[in-house]
Symmetry: C2
Subunit: 354 residues, 2 copies
Amino acid sequence: MAKRAGKLTYKSSGVDVSANDVMVDKIGAALRRTYDPRVISRHGGFAGLMRLDYHERLLKRCYREPVLVAGADGVGSKLLFGIQHQRIASLGIDLVAMSVNDILTVGAEPLMFLDYVACHKLKPAEIAEIVTGVSTGCVEAGCALLGGETAEMPAMYSPSHFDLAGFCVGVVERDRIIDGDDVEPGDVVIGLASSGIHSNGYSLVHAAIERLGKRKQLPVDLGEPLEDALLRPTRIYVQPVLKLLRSYRRKKIVRAMAHITGGGIAGNLPRVLPDGCAAHIHRGAWTPPPVFRLIQALGVDESEMYDVFNMGIGFILVVRPAFANAVIERLNSAGETAFRIGTIRKGKRRVVWR
Amino acid sequence: MAKRAGKLTYKSSGVDVSANDVMVDKIGAALRRTYDPRVISRHGGFAGLMRLDYHERLLKRCYREPVLVAGADGVGSKLLFGIQHQRIASLGIDLVAMSVNDILTVGAEPLMFLDYVACHKLKPAEIAEIVTGVSTGCVEAGCALLGGETAEMPAMYSPSHFDLAGFCVGVVERDRIIDGDDVEPGDVVIGLASSGIHSNGYSLVHAAIERLGKRKQLPVDLGEPLEDALLRPTRIYVQPVLKLLRSYRRKKIVRAMAHITGGGIAGNLPRVLPDGCAAHIHRGAWTPPPVFRLIQALGVDESEMYDVFNMGIGFILVVRPAFANAVIERLNSAGETAFRIGTIRKGKRRVVWR
């Protein structure tokens, strides 16, 4: 595990060493529950170590030509909602989700995660809660929380504020990389249901929610408290998607994958399409969760909604048409809600709404 | 390359997409100059990809049992000095140095680096300057700047402020991991000169410098402007140390290594010592740079100075006594300034000052 904080640990300028020690103890368990036999535990060391392969005969899972895949992300303005409603543990899940879903798009198995927490002043219980949330996300994504850094910067952050950054590294067999190059007209676009807004568009969410003012009656019935809808953690698609990819020995059943973040489907799906391929998407193929209808009802144009939010689709797979039904079935039986939302056609590299 | 920013890219809530595009173009060159043949370039993709090995015959550099080594860090309060003096490019070097020197301690070759920049509002020129600094550090450390994330959070950061986090992954052959377990009494402690304060202790630096008030005459002659001394980037020890390790086919010449960060030599060297081994360090073996004498002269106890700062030693190697002179010679001829600063003796796992 990388050393947590301790980099500015001198009381004379206001940094409390013992508070840090308490926190380090508290998060130890959070880290350890994410370890698998590949983690080489070295308490107090300068860096986190992880073998790329198991070398125990029973566990052997070797990569012939391993390619490392890395992603970095934060949770953006969702942080401020979480802080405001004192629901900071779930922000750790969001943090993990943002990076692991990104590296999943090439077919990579997440191996390790590291976090950076920067705050005004260490509150051990708060940091422990955040890191526990991060470790919950890591368990769900099947990766090791290998370390992190906690920084106190009183001059940078307000007393109640903190920022989070997350870094993930995974591995994929070189000849199994999914890069979208083989996508061709006729391929089927499959969408996986999001858990809600996920971790993008919260500046717009904030602007919309402010219009509610002191109204207690929401213009759209969410069927749950507003803050539950706004702060539900981002869905992590790693386990069901990796299970799907492993179930097909023949490669290239799944030809492209996209994580639907800021910019929505139209901003993200074309990133993995080759030239000459447009994605025709049928909005009627699924029903956006009520939280999006609420935000729209507060004065956001529908086209803007689709340009900013995932609108209920958090992850997309482009698959060979002959396998589309089987893929949908497999994903559904792995606990996802999968929709056939469109088709690839000849055209400019973009989304065409239907 | 991981997608830069773009996660909150909607103008309606004040996020400027075109400014972001300009920045993305500007930093493209900064990233590309760090690439080696192992990087798989996928413009616009969701994640950065890097082969663990060259497979071109001429370049082949394989790992039999690769262990991945990861570290995360920030630059702490040095950021505020850099922002104040408008020297933000060198902060990128500090950011890289903090992580790569950490993973170097186990003998790892840094492979990739990712950064997280969070700010009030994107200033494309500023972000480009920061990332160019990060790429300069990556070139020096011989690792690829594989991606990053830029986040705009107006409600979190003051207009002039930004925060930086960095994440590094390297690789080491499993049976060449340097973990300190074999350190034994009689081993020699070799220190490598720091470039100055590096990136720790800046809250104390700030408190000390404030005592200068409006005095123009410093109590200690630095031989250079104060801000040069305070903002010189952290030394990156990767290339000379890796060259040293590769020059010895026999392993275990170098038995432990420590990166001297917050907590100084006494706070960091014991992290890699086994039980029953104390490091006896002779302060007279080297002369701390004048910037430390200045801070001390402004009212910090000498013992506090050694408990907080590197005091002129940025990286430490513990080596077998028979090889100590040869190691010092090799490091000096690789451009380092190496000192024999102490010896390992039987005792409690700590530093004993001589």
